[in-house]
């Protein structure tokens, strides 16, 4: 598949050519100029996929659990998509994406599409276009999309906002209860998974986790349950699948799904606007100007105001220009 123009790419995508999905995902990652238009063209096909976020500290067994869940979901022959994030090095911009190693079994299944993504420039791990990636999988016909996070930083919240059900995966050795509360993970989980439950201290950790969650405010009657698993051999995965289905029913039944998805669309709209504007503002000329003004001792407060004023002027000039063109 050589370089494709947008029209043929879209056509290939609609014909369910997997290479087209791969290409579109790259465009999302690269923030390709035509990506918003492409996403808009397939948007009416989205809405059927259930999006599951899998988050938790590094080493909790997220990839292994995703592998298990996907095997289980494939029993119904639905197409399953997986997005697995690993961090980009803030120093070199490179990344080592190793999640496929633990997803080997599902990597050979043509009904499963795994995409490894680096967090790219965002320190703290804000995921590049995770929402857009989910839309593409959804529009392509995947009935479940699993998103695995880096395991540290802001990306966790980002993924929770982009998914319908968020699993927080912890292990008995994750640290004491206060650590877990500090990490901010306790607020975002719809379901808690205590993995590696064959390890020492599992019972104690389970009791502690249940006790912390009992003081959390209920979300429209949903108390986040704790599911014990041993992802390595598949223990507890069936129960987890049932619980995810129950959470889905809960969201649909209470009307929370509608509300969540509306909030998601609003947040996304805001982000897209900011992204487009930010890229437009920070062209090479303004980046250079900023550096020059700082080098000559300018104050950031003043420089930023100047840049904004100039930007508005630029817009006005363009509008005036377009007006004269028309008349």
């Amino acid at each position: 598949m050589k370089q494709l123009d947008d029209k043929s790419l879209l056509e290939a995508f609609r014909n369910c050519e997997r290479r087209a999905l791969a290409r579109m995902l790259t465009r999302v990652e690269n923030k390709h100029p035509s990506v918003l238009e492409l996403l808009d063209s397939v948007y009416d096909r989205t809405g059927d996929a259930w999006r599951i976020g899998v988050t938790g500290p590094p080493g909790a067994g997220k990839s292994t659990l995703v592998n298990r869940l996907v095997i289980r979901y494939r029993a119904s022959d639905d197409l399953i998509g997986v997005v697995a994030f690993d961090p980009t090095s803030p120093f070199t911009g490179g990344a080592l994406l190793g999640d496929r190693v633990r997803m080997e079994t599902i990597g050979r299944d043509p009904g499963v599409f795994i995409r490894s993504m680096a967090t790219r420039g965002h320190l703290g791990g804000l995921a590049v276009g995770v929402d857009e990636a989910c839309d593409l999988f959804d529009a392509f016909g995947h009935r479940k999309v699993l998103v695995e996070t880096v395991g540290v930083g802001q990306s966790e919240l980002e993924v929770a906002n982009a998914t319908d059900t968020t699993l927080v995966v912890l292990v008995p050795q994750s640290g004491d209860s206060i650590q877990a509360m500090k990490a901010g993970l306790m607020e975002i989980g719809d379901i808690f998974v205590l993995n590696m439950c064959d390890r020492d201290g599992a019972d104690e950790a389970y009791r502690e986790l249940v006790s912390i969650l009992s003081i959390r405010e209920l979300d429209h009657g949903w108390r986040p349950p704790v599911i014990r698993t041993v992802a390595r051999d598949g223990g507890g995965v069936e129960k987890l699948v049932e619980t995810i289905a129950a959470h889905r029913e809960h969201l649909v039944g209470t009307g929370m799904l509608e509300q969540r998805r509306r909030n998601r669309s609003a947040a996304k709209t805001k982000r897209l606007v900011e992204d487009v504007l930010s890229r437009r503002i920070w062209n090479a000329a303004r980046r250079a100007k900023t550096m020059n003004r700082i080098a000559s001792g300018g104050s950031p407060y003043q420089i930023s105001q100047e840049l904004i004023d100039e930007f508005y002027e630029e817009i006005h000039r363009e509008q005036a220009h377009a007006e004269t063109e028309r008349t």
């Binding site: 598949m1 791969a22 690269n30 923030k31 911009g93 496929r100 050979r108 795994i114 490894s116």
Partner: protein, 141 residues
């Protein structure tokens, strides 16, 4: 957003060890070197089949497949991967690699249609330079 350059295009490389030899040090050294060069490395690890490698390259929209083979089975494995790449129309993906491979075999492989193959003693910088140039020429944004 800080006023730094928008470098959105990344070189994506799938690194794998096809076949049965269990020595992944070379693959890991190259994975780290590629990462440090700013590439995104999709590391598949040991005992991969040509099928799983090509499938991964397709899903990951990789620019490059890099194989590390120390088992002596390089002629068969490279040939099989090339064939699968053709079948999946991955005709704009570079197949390169390295390992304990003699000069004659390297010549034969490159003749067969692979990219450059690197033998023992190659510096990590050489494949990096080669991949950068290849991607720049063959897969611009």
């Amino acid at each position: 957003m800080s006023p730094e350059a928008n470098t959105d295009r990344k070189v994506r490389v799938v690194i794998a060890k096809p076949g049965l030899d269990g020595h992944d040090r070379g693959a890991k050294v190259m994975a780290a070197a590629f990462r440090d060069a700013g590439f995104e490395v999709i590391y598949l690890g040991l005992r991969q089949t040509p099928e799983s490698i090509v499938e991964a390259a397709l899903q990951e929209d990789a620019d490059v497949i890099a194989l590390s083979i120390l088992s002596g089975a390089h002629m068969t494995l490279f040939q099989r991967v090339l064939k699968l790449m053709k079948e999946n129309s991955l005709d704009d993906v570079l197949l390169t690699g390295g390992g304990i491979i003699s000069d004659e075999d390297i010549e034969a492989l490159e003749e067969m249609g692979t990219g450059r193959i690197f033998g023992p003693g190659t510096s990590t910088q050489e494949p990096i330079r080669y991949i950068r140039e290849w991607v720049g020429e063959n897969r611009p944004v």
